[in-house]
């Protein structure tokens, strides 16, 4: 299956799972909203241009917004992490190591520790921005901090579960392929 087709299927799956499964979970606490959809952006291939990365992220966030009736909220957060993503990757691994040999970021291509850092930083950024936009309209500072931390923790657990349940087979890229 080509990388493009794979990502199109992922796009639809992530939106549907977020809208119809995760958003329907009865709230355990006011701080906790299980977010997983942004993993789509973390999984996009290395060789995408940053401009395209942001276009895709905007459309992706906006698709979710159409369901949650908050036009622009998730789109803004997604564009932010799409913009930051290349910086983080270049900080974490040397360029020729991962990017030339593998297609997209994963535990295998980056190594476990850099990959966990990568997920944690982007998750925290995404949620901070998302909750901040919500907080500007109402809410207290404790609410802001509590929600960012609790939501990040839950998201991180979900991302790790997905990584373990659905390992992506990362072919080693060769010149022939």
């Amino acid at each position: 299956m080509s990388e493009l087709l794979k990502n199109i299927i992922r796009y639809i799956l992530f939106i549907f799972i977020q809208v119809f499964v995760l958003n329907n979970i009865p709230p355990l606490h006011q701080f906790i909203v299980p977010y997983l959809y942004f993993l789509f952006i973390l999984w996009l291939p290395f060789n995408m241009k940053r401009g395209w990365l942001m276009v895709v992220a905007f459309l992706f966030g906006f698709s979710l917004d159409a369901f949650t009736k908050t036009p622009g909220l998730h789109a803004a957060a997604c564009v932010l992490i799409a913009y930051i993503r290349p910086f983080i990757i270049s900080l974490l691994v040397s360029r020729d190591m991962a990017e030339l040999n593998y297609v997209s970021p994963s535990a295998k291509s980056l190594g476990w520790v850099p990959y966990i850092t990568y997920v944690l930083v982007l998750t925290l950024l995404h949620h901070t921005y998302l909750v901040f936009l919500e907080w500007m309209q109402f809410g207290s500072f404790i609410y802001f901090m509590g929600k960012v931390l609790a939501t990040t923790a839950v998201s991180f657990v979900l991302v790790m579960l997905v990584e373990m349940l659905f390992p992506r087979d990362q072919r080693y890229r060769t010149n022939t392929a």
Binding site: N23, P27, Q30, M54, A66, F67, P71, L73, V79, F138
Partner: protein, 284 residues
């Protein structure tokens, strides 16, 4: 000039990032003010279709409970039928019975209700919305009231051809005029965004004796809801020493987690009421 182009090219990504952010934020902050942004009408129709498909599966899992609720409602309505009220035969003189419901000579219709099915619902966010499968073509208009068999749900926010978005009572900007059923004082019901089981009733003066379990119903002043529809019951009462009013914690009558069938309520005299109201402003 050349330097400007070089500058722009060098930071093209950053500028593009800023443009996308501005577009997103503009959409977000304008939506709350003018929620009829053109694209949302189209988006509502598409997401509405998907939500309806999903709902048609989900509905089976709740059938038993829903049947029970409808049964109870039927029972309540059946008890109000005219046939249940008899006239005693006094043989000497007849009295015109004014107690019956369908006395058309003195009662006119003020409210008209239409059933609808909820195809999308949220409770976990700060601003919650519902979507129902009845839109402009089926007679739903903006600002109509929406109630469930158990009690108040919210009011219509946005209408597309076949679907409507309902501003849930669990929304930061939701304000519903309410009154204490027992004594009749009116106040406002709001949501503080924390627990979907409870809403807050404000502006009830401290002179009123409130007990746990007292009914809070829609007030006579609302232009969306008929008076006397249950909003919830008093859970606890907090006295604020700095004001003369209570802050009452009210347990919602509607269970927002599983609301599936609702009624959209049309106030047939709303136009007239609003016209009269707007006239006052002009005279000032």
């Amino acid at each position: 000039m050349r330097n400007i182009f070089l500058f722009i090219r060098r930071y093209a990504n950053f500028f593009f990032f800023l443009v996308l952010q501005i577009v997103a934020l503009w959409l977000l902050f304008s939506y709350n003010k003018f929620h009829q942004a053109a694209f949302m009408g189209v988006a509502n129709d598409i997401t509405g279709k998907l939500n309806e498909e999903y709902n048609s599966i989900e509905v089976y899992f709740k059938l038993k409970k829903k049947n029970q609720e409808l049964l109870e409602e039927n029972n309540r309505l059946r008890n109000m039928l005219q046939e249940n009220f008899g006239v005693r035969d006094t043989t000497l003189f007849s009295i015109k019975d004014t107690l019956t419901i369908n006395d058309s000579s003195r009662i006119f219709r003020r409210y008209y209700s239409m059933p609808a099915q909820v195809v999308d619902n949220s409770t976990s966010r700060q601003n919650n919305y519902l979507m129902i499968n009845r839109g402009y073509n089926q007679g739903v208009r903006k600002d109509m009231g929406v109630v469930s068999p158990a009690g108040v749900v919210g009011s219509v926010l946005d209408v597309s051809d076949n679907y409507a978005v309902v501003l849930s009572m669990l929304h930061r900007v939701s304000r519903i005029s309410a009154s204490v059923k027992k004594t009749g004082e009116t106040g406002t019901v709001e949501w503080d965004g924390t627990n979907p089981l409870f809403v807050t009733l404000k502006d009830i003066p401290k002179s009123v004796q409130l007990n746990q379990g007292d009914s809070i119903v829609t007030s006579r002043y609302s232009d969306k809801f008929p008076p006397g529809i249950l909003i919830g019951t008093v859970e606890s009462v907090a006295t604020d020493p700095s004001s003369n009013f209570y802050r009452v914690k009210v347990r919602t009558a509607t269970n927002f987690f599983n609301v599936q069938y609702v009624y959209v309520i049309e106030n047939l005299e709303k136009e007239e009421q609003l016209q009269l109201k707007s006239g006052i402003k002009i005279n000032e």
